[in-house]
């Protein structure tokens, strides 16, 4: 017994000793937080065991070993990662990130480590053979990627439109089901995806050769950058780097080239930022309002229908209403949007334009909420009202239409106004299926200029202004009706 106690005390003091001495350990081997894209094979991807592998990941591991530092990996979407570095939430980003002049204003990049280029990929059966076939078509690109920049640059010349996606898988799927005719993607990424079974083919030669780099926030983390560069030089020298690339792409074609000198960062104020992006923001706002108005009107009609169904004498009608409301109130709106935009076309082969898919999502989701409060509103009208109307000889339908419903609708007006505002805010979720409304406009602007704080501040202010105006309008309407 005593022996057991002794060993317990020994163990405890050992644990305390480790705890006390651990800051010293940290000082000796610095620990960094590094972000990467959640899925950007062959540079980073999650294995089925849950750990991250790929060229970036293997390279980072090798460099950290040689330079004697530890790191905590925080995978997130590329956009979020870029913003997390700028916000100082993470120390560095390694995410197959192209070194562009614009990014150099906000980042310090390490030695460029991989040269990539933009290729265009289509489905096997596509009639699109090159850029000149794109006139009048819509292509897909990943938000904030070099591929998107390239597509935007040449879109006027070849007369095509661009839909933006937040991750590669969604983008490939969109092309595969025919919503968009082609995707613009980095060559190694596309090659790897096709090797892994994505049913697309590359139809152009790599364009706009660009270098990938390891990035830290401008002026910060110089020590980490130095360690990366030294470590990188070492693994290039002894051939480890080539081995890593070969592991994922089958052949090593590495040629090092120095970057052009950094340009001086342009000074911007929030007002000049607003002026620069005025037309984009306005277009986004108009799209948001369009979605909201079309959405709320149609969802209102659908919801009132569901509500009426919910108070019908027929048990079947009531059950149907309850079931529909249960399903569509239970589904997260994002899941519903993806299901309609990607899921259904996958099954039927019939593509649905993003705006239509967005409106259908709003109808089903907001309509379910409206249906619930509409039938609730009708039910909350005193039962004596229906009895009085029926006792005068009015048939059920007329009694409902002339007596119960007008009173119920009066009770529902505050809920309708509330739902209107919720719908306006919910349209931001539809940015995920590539509708360029206000939120997506913000994402796109940030992906180019990386001014996260200022741009989101502008977007938030715009939403608040519109919602304030809507609330005033609704209150005015409410007073008029009363």
């Amino acid at each position: 017994m005593r022996k057991w106690l002794m060993s317990l005390i020994a163990l405890a003091s050992l644990a305390i000793g480790v705890l006390i001495s651990s800051p010293a350990v940290h000082a000796a081997t610095p620990n960094y937080t590094i972000t990467t894209d959640t899925t950007f094979p062959p540079f980073e991807f999650q294995t089925d065991k849950g750990d991250y592998r790929g060229i970036d990941m293997d390279m980072l591991k090798e460099i950290s070993k040689r330079e004697n530092f530890t790191y905590k990996l925080k995978p997130m979407s590329f956009n979020a990662g870029v913003q997390a570095v700028q916000a100082g939430q993470v120390d560095g980003i390694v995410a197959g990130m192209s070194i562009t002049d614009e990014r150099k204003k906000m980042f310090d990049f390490g030695t460029p480590y991989y040269k990539s280029g933009i290729v265009m990929a289509t489905t096997d059966k596509s009639k699109i053979k090159g850029l000149s076939d794109l006139k009048g078509k819509t292509v897909a690109a990943k938000t904030g990627s070099a591929g998107a920049d390239y597509a935007r640059e040449i879109s006027k010349k070849y007369g095509f439109k661009i839909t933006y996606f937040n991750d590669s898988n969604t983008m490939y799927n969109d092309v595969a089901i025919g919503n968009t005719v082609a995707a613009f993607e980095d060559q190694p990424v596309m090659a790897y995806a096709i090797k892994q079974g994505t049913k697309l083919k590359i139809v152009t030669d790599p364009a706009k050769g660009n270098w990938y780099g390891f990035g830290v926030k401008k002026g910060a983390n110089t020590e980490l950058l130095k360690k990366f560069n030294t470590g990188y030089a070492a693994i290039v020298k002894d051939g480890t780097y080539d081995k890593i690339v070969n592991r994922y792409l089958g052949k090593g074609s590495y040629n090092y080239k120095k970057n052009a000198a950094d340009k001086v960062e342009k000074q911007t104020t929030i007002w000049s930022l607003f002026n620069e992006n005025k037309s984009a923001l306005f277009t986004g706002l108009v799209k948001t309002l369009e979605l909201t108005l079309v959405g709320i009107v149609l969802a209102g009609i659908w919801g009132i229908l569901l509500g009426i169904l919910g108070v019908m004498p027929s048990k079947f009608a009531r059950g149907l209403s309850t079931t529909i409301i249960y399903i569509f109130r239970g589904l997260p709106m994002l899941v519903l949007a993806f299901f309609i935009y990607i899921g259904i076309p996958n099954l039927t082969g019939q593509k649905i334009p993003a705006f239509t898919a967005g409106v259908i999502t709003l109808i089903l989701n907001e309509g379910a909420y409206i249906g619930a409060f509409v039938s609730g509103g009708f039910k909350s009208v005193d039962s004596g009202q229906l009895e009085a109307a029926r006792s005068l000889g009015l048939p059920y339908g007329k009694a409902m239409r002339k007596v119960v419903m007008p009173q119920g609708i009066r009770l529902m007006i505050p809920s309708f106004i509330n739902q209107f505002i919720i719908t306006l805010k919910d349209t931001s979720i539809l940015s995920a299926i590539g509708i360029i409304e206000l939120t997506q406009t913000g994402t796109l602007i940030i992906a180019r200029n990386l001014q996260g704080f200022r741009v989101w501040l502008m977007i938030a202010a715009l939403y608040l202004i519109v919602i304030t105006l809507l609330t005033w309008l609704s209150n005015w309407v409410e007073k008029r009706i009363k």
């Binding site: 005193d382 004596g384 009202q385 009895e387 009085a388 109307a389 029926r390 006792s391 005068l392 000889g393 009015l394 048939p395 007329k398 002339k402 007596v403 007008p406 009173q407 009066r410």
Partner: protein, 245 residues
């Protein structure tokens, strides 16, 4: 005299609770029947089953020759002839007094809008509320609301009027006005069935008083017989309570 309302062996249960245990009643044209009895005795339920606001479980109810217990009956047609006045008035709060009056006659094609308005004006004048034609019901007092409700029921030119405790929700000083309107109606020869606790009204206006207890009609007769010389023990007990309260 022919019976305009006939009820034969009427049974009605709410779940396991049987509230009407085989009632029989016949009411003649122009007769004023007042139903009294303790609360829960079934008088309101019986009244409501006379225009099918309550479905009875068995038995027959025949209104002006129409057997409304039959499932196929067009109850709306029968209800046009049977006006009903509720304890809580049940005026339509989103409509003005005039709109309340003309809704049913116009919607059911009984009258054109201008005919209905003319008729409504006459009725409102009769209940002393013509100047309230264009206000919403929530600006009226309880007594005024109930008088409008009576006028609204009369706008359909009913042959029978059912009153379900029409003065129970009123302040005492309002009761008189409403009862006056009902007395006048009785004088004009309207067939009326009235559930009430106003014993004075029963004594003065009723052709017949019906005493309800425990889902049965225990006793019925002329007001003098019931009030002066009740035969049933339960009737005596009840009258003792309400008259000496």
């Amino acid at each position: 005299m022919t019976a305009i309302i006939e009820a034969h062996d009427v049974h009605k249960s709410f779940g396991k609770n049987e509230v009407l245990k085989g009632l029989n009643l016949a009411v003649n044209e122009g007769e004023v029947v007042v139903m009294i009895g303790p609360s829960g005795s079934g008088k309101s339920t019986f009244l409501r089953s006379l225009n099918k606001l309550e479905e009875i479980n068995s038995g027959q109810i025949i209104i002006d020759g129409h057997n409304i217990s039959e499932p196929k009956i067009n109850i709306d047609k029968v209800r046009e002839k049977v006006g009903m006045v509720f304890q809580h008035f049940n005026l339509f709060p989103h409509l003005t007094v005039m709109e309340n009056m003309v809704l049913a006659p116009v919607q059911l094609g009984k009258m054109t809008k201008s005919e209905a308005i003319d008729k409504a004006k006459i009725l409102l004048k009769r209940v002393g509320l013509l100047e309230k034609a264009d206000v919403k019901p929530d600006t009226l007092s309880g007594g005024q609301k109930q008088r409008v409700a009576i006028a609204r029921a009369l706008a359909m030119n009913p042959e029978i009027m059912l009153f379900d405790e029409p003065t129970s929700a009123l302040d005492p000083e309002m009761v008189g006005d409403v009862l006056d309107v009902m007395k006048e109606l009785a004088k004009e020869g309207m067939t009326m069935i009235v559930v009430t606790h106003e014993m004075g009204f029963a004594k003065q206006v009723a052709d017949r008083v019906v005493f309800f207890a425990d889902g049965h009609i225990k006793e019925e007769g002329k007001p003098v017989e019931i009030f002066e010389n009740p035969q049933d023990e339960r009737t005596r007990e009840f009258l003792n309570k309400v008259l000496n309260a």
